[in-house]
């Protein structure tokens, strides 16, 4: 049988993972808060077609 210490540890790990994954999910799927690197030269006007908040033009 797991001890009380083990249970607390397990709950803490699971809870932290759930929170971290939920935050990531919200950041990615809800806020779309991740950068997309693109080349304006190769793919002009791409940002308008991509569903995200941040764009980085990597055109050399």
């Amino acid at each position: 049988m797991p001890s009380a210490g083990n249970k607390i540890f397990l709950v803490a790990v699971v809870a932290t993972y759930v929170i971290a994954i939920a935050l990531t999910y919200a950041r990615v799927y809800v806020l779309h808060a991740y950068p997309i690197y693109y080349s304006e030269e190769d793919m002009p006007g791409i940002p308008k077609q991509l569903d995200t908040l941040i764009y980085w033009d990597k055109t050399p």
Partner: protein
């Protein structure tokens, strides 16, 4: 211009990924899922939770990786790539904990658990904050992400854990003395290290070179090493391989027959398969439970045998201590009792002046009680010596007829007190044997005393004669015959055992200890003689027959 990608079905099926991924990842998922199921079936305690953590995290990792390869959604790529960075340390921590528990045979301490938690936290923070996967690369159409601090942190943790395993292995190998234990530790360590290396190398190479296809070969090696590690654990942790094989066979058979139900179009064939499936289920279950019961029973017997061995050793030790105690206590008691007996006799005989008539009877009782007690103490002493193996015989030519007669004379007052006739007869006069005078006298005393105790009325007759034993050798036969309570046939065999008394003996005599006959038998056997009982049944008297080599 937008990149053109296939639309994935069920997250993971599309033409975007390399076909190799489906072989390497889905095979691994199946292998680890199978191993995960086995952790719920096993009998023996082993680091199940660590293994479950490792296998569970690895399955999530593999699934996420397949999504990356197959899916065209940028959101999915970013999310599942981040997830990879979060679960990857768990695979290594699980494998490390599994190794440590295997090595040290105890669960991970609470302090170390929290240390693990602290190590995991940055990986989770980096993932949630967008520092593991810092962006999607749309400069090419390879659907790659840009990896950041979180991913590198994972590699550092994994490398440290790998080095720790190597360090702990070296330390243990140097400490361990037995070759078998060293081989076991080496093989388990090798399995864990190869598991780490194949996984870590594949990921690091992919991160550095950006060649995610070639690195997949590393992942093909992971299940092979995991299987190797499991095999080693099974072999050395005395899991029952037979159960593992039967489990695998039965489960595979059930899955195969079940899948055949859907593979056939012919109704007759489907019906036949259904019947086979229905038959295989209870038979497989019976086979599994039968083998498990048998293995459990065998293990239980082995465990009990070990416990019995320990208990037996303890009992022997206690028996030895008891004999020692008995010996010391008896010696301490014998001296004062001898004094009481001697002085009581002297007083009764008038050696200290005339004794009033009213005092004679109590003094005789004192003397008799002291005699009985001295005799009991002598028995206890003899028992402790017999059991310690320290009983020494001083053999010399002894006339057993005169010894028996002397005993009869000594015991006569006791018999008379019970109004019993105590007779002695010798057909052949002096009868010489090689014997220890004191011990043979003790034998006769015990037998005569016993006869008097269990005879309420009538007589006790002691006779000595030359005779021949069953093999025709000459013996001195001493018979002590009484007209007392008698003994049922079924109880005769046990009367020479220690502390054994005839059924109902307490009604006739309350002072018996059940030691007199045991001591007599041991002493007679010490003279290479025999002693036996004859009785015609309850109420028909008893004969004790001693035969000593003449």
């Amino acid at each position: 211009m937008m990149c053109e990608w296939d639309t994935a079905q069920y997250l993971i099926f599309s033409g975007n990924g390399e076909p190799l991924i489906y072989y390497s990842h889905l095979t691994s998922i199946l292998i680890f899922a199978g191993l995960l199921i086995f952790t719920f079936l096993r009998l023996k305690p082993w680091p199940k939770n660590s293994f479950r953590l490792m296998a569970g995290a690895y399955i999530v990792w593999l699934f996420s990786d397949v999504v990356l390869w197959a899916n065209e959604s940028i959101d999915h790529v970013i999310f599942f790539w981040t997830l990879l960075g979060m679960v990857e340390p768990l695979i290594f921590i699980g494998a490390y904990a599994y190794f440590i528990q295997f090595l040290e045979k105890r669960p991970i301490s609470t302090a170390n658990q929290w240390l693990i938690f602290i190590i995991i936290l940055p990986a989770l923070y980096f993932g949630a904050a967008g520092l593991s996967v810092i962006g999607f690369d749309y400069t090419t159409c390879d659907r790659n992400a840009w990896e950041g601090l979180g991913i590198y942190y994972g590699y550092v943790v994994e490398t440290i854990l790998l080095l720790l395993i190597i360090w702990k292995t070296i330390v243990r190998l140097l400490k361990e003395k037995t070759r078998q234990e060293r081989v076991k530790i080496f093989l388990v360590s090798l399995g864990t290290c190869l598991l780490f290396l194949s996984f870590l190398a594949a990921n690091v190479v992919a991160t550095i070179t950006g060649d995610y296809v070639t690195s997949q070969y590393g992942h093909i090696a992971v299940p092979i090493f995991a299987a190797f590690l499991t095999y080693i654990t099974i072999k050395y942790e005395s899991f029952e391989p037979r159960i593992l094989l039967i489990d695998t066979l039965v489960i595979a058979l059930v899955i195969l027959i079940f899948s055949l139900l859907f593979a056939e179009n012919d109704n007759y064939q489907i019906y036949a398969n259904l019947m086979a499936f229905i038959l295989v289920l209870p038979l497989g279950y019976t086979l599994l439970t039968g083998i498990r019961k048998e293995v459990r029973a065998r293990k239980q017997i082995e465990k009990l045998a070990k416990q019995l061995e320990v208990a037996n050793e303890r009992l022997k030790e206690l028996d030895r201590m008891k004999s020692e105690f008995l010996s010391i206590a008896s010696h301490q008691l014998r001296a004062p009792i001898t004094a009481i007996k001697g002085y009581a006799s002297l007083i009764v005989q008038g050696d200290y002046g005339p004794v009033p008539n009213t005092m004679k009877d109590p003094l005789e009782r004192v003397s008799e009680s002291a005699r009985v007690m001295a005799s009991s103490i002598e028995d206890y002493l003899n028992i402790s010596r017999i059991e310690q193996g320290s009983l020494k015989y001083e053999f010399a030519p002894v006339d057993v007829a005169s010894v028996a007669q002397k005993v009869v004379e000594e015991m006569r007052p006791v018999a008379l007190a019970k109004h019993l006739a105590l007779n002695f007869s010798s057909k052949d006069g002096a009868l010489m044997v090689q014997a220890d005078f004191g011990k043979i006298k003790q034998v006769f005393s015990n037998l005569v005393d016993n006869a008097i105790k269990y005879t309420e009325k009538g007589s006790v007759n002691v006779s000595v004669e030359k005779a021949q034993d069953a093999s025709g050798k000459g013996v001195a036969r001493i018979v002590v015959e009484d007209t007392g309570a008698g003994i049922p046939r079924e109880e005769m065999g046990g009367l020479f055992e220690k502390f054994v008394r005839a059924r109902g003996a307490n009604k006739v005599n309350t002072t018996g200890t059940g030691l007199g006959l045991y001591v007599a038998k041991q002493l007679v056997e010490g003279h290479k003689g025999t002693v036996r009982i004859e009785s015609d049944g309850l109420g028909k008297g008893t004969r004790f027959i001693v035969e000593l080599p003449a």
